[in-house]
Symmetry: C2
DNA sequence: AAAATTGGTATTGAGTCGAAACTAAATGGA
DNA sequence: TCCATTTAGTTTCGACTCAATACCAATTTT
């Protein structure tokens, strides 16, 4: 049992998940990349629902992503809306059709059933291992983490008074801090 | 710390690895899918080095894969050779140029450095968790496992006398049993 | 007020993808 | 043995992704 082997198993797991995700999307006439974008948009917070953020998340150019989003809008999976403050910015929101689809897709390919059968202490260890790997990768290649607020170093837990984002100073709800943020940074 | 969160972290890790792999391949004029195919071919055993096996591994149709392989051959990353026994079968072998490229790519994106820093007992646990997940996924959606022989239920360890594949009855070397096989099945 | 930056869109050319049609070799009966 | 079937691969086609480039408009900087 080596690091090499762990790496291989993980690699294969990636492959299988990608294959299943592709097959699922195809049944609804969506390309993998469109599924990925829509998935992101159902999970990101209000600072992170723009074309630019989607592009950064997926590691693609904004031009490329712009087209995928156009298709998603045409097919009725999401709505575009100009930002009130900054009129350059486009806000993206999945329609109910869109979020239902993603909910179904996530359920189909989630590892949760499998993970639920394993010891929660093991899962905790495992998550921390991967989180530290993520942190490494993020640093060495300059990508963003795209984690949820509740694991972010800018997130402040004000106990009874809810949460506050240390970057924007805005209050965040219990639901908010579960969402993905493009400004996310792990502590330390 | 929940199964949900473990799932998310893993998801993001997938994304990052894909992004890096894409960027790497692009520097050498190769598409992600071509990198994937070539990677597989440097890691598979002699029963698994055919276009059909590549297609199964990647979850694509044989027609699609056929084109990618043509490009890889044209660019000098692999060689095609008709099988001696069965003339329908094409055997694929990476050239030294091809295997060098993949070696470099794997090194660049390996989790091994990060994993090496974590407790080996943890890694063992982690691997076993993911292996059982893999087994689940493989069963529920009818995909093949594509594991290495030494984790396969058909592999027989004859101690001093080396290994034997229970399917083909052929002897396998120490190196052989580290390779990926399309007939692989996990025990139990 | 002009210049630079930022967020997004449109266009183009190379390439992937699945589906379907196809070839050739092996297999399996009668 | 001969013909049907199966198996391994290739080719072609149309829809689509992708990066690169050029572009536009709003914002920020100088």
């Amino acid at each position: 049992m080596s690091a090499q082997e762990a790496n291989d198993v993980l690699e294969r797991l990636n492959n299988l998940q990608r294959m299943e995700a592709r097959a699922f999307g195809l049944r609804y006439g969506l390309q993998p990349v469109q599924m990925d974008a829509l998935t992101y948009l159902t999970q990101c917070n209000r600072y992170s629902n723009t074309p630019q953020a989607v592009a950064e998340y997926l590691g693609l150019t904004k031009g490329t992503v712009s087209q995928s989003l156009k298709v998603l809008e045409q097919k009725g999976f999401l709505r575009k809306q100009a930002d009130k403050q900054d009129k350059r910015i486009v806000r993206l929101a999945p329609t109910s059709k869109g979020s239902h689809l993603i909910k179904k897709a996530l359920l189909a390919r989630s590892l949760e059933p499998a993970l639920a059968m394993t010891d929660s202490r093991k899962i905790a260890e495992l998550t921390s291992v991967f989180r530290s790997i993520l942190r490494d990768m993020q640093q060495t290649n300059g990508r963003k983490a795209f984690g949820a607020c509740h694991t972010c170093r800018f997130n402040e837990d004000h106990e009874k008074n809810g949460y506050v984002c240390g970057l924007t100073r805005e209050p965040l709800s219990v639901q908010d801090v579960q969402l993905i943020c493009r400004e996310h940074q792990y502590p330390q």
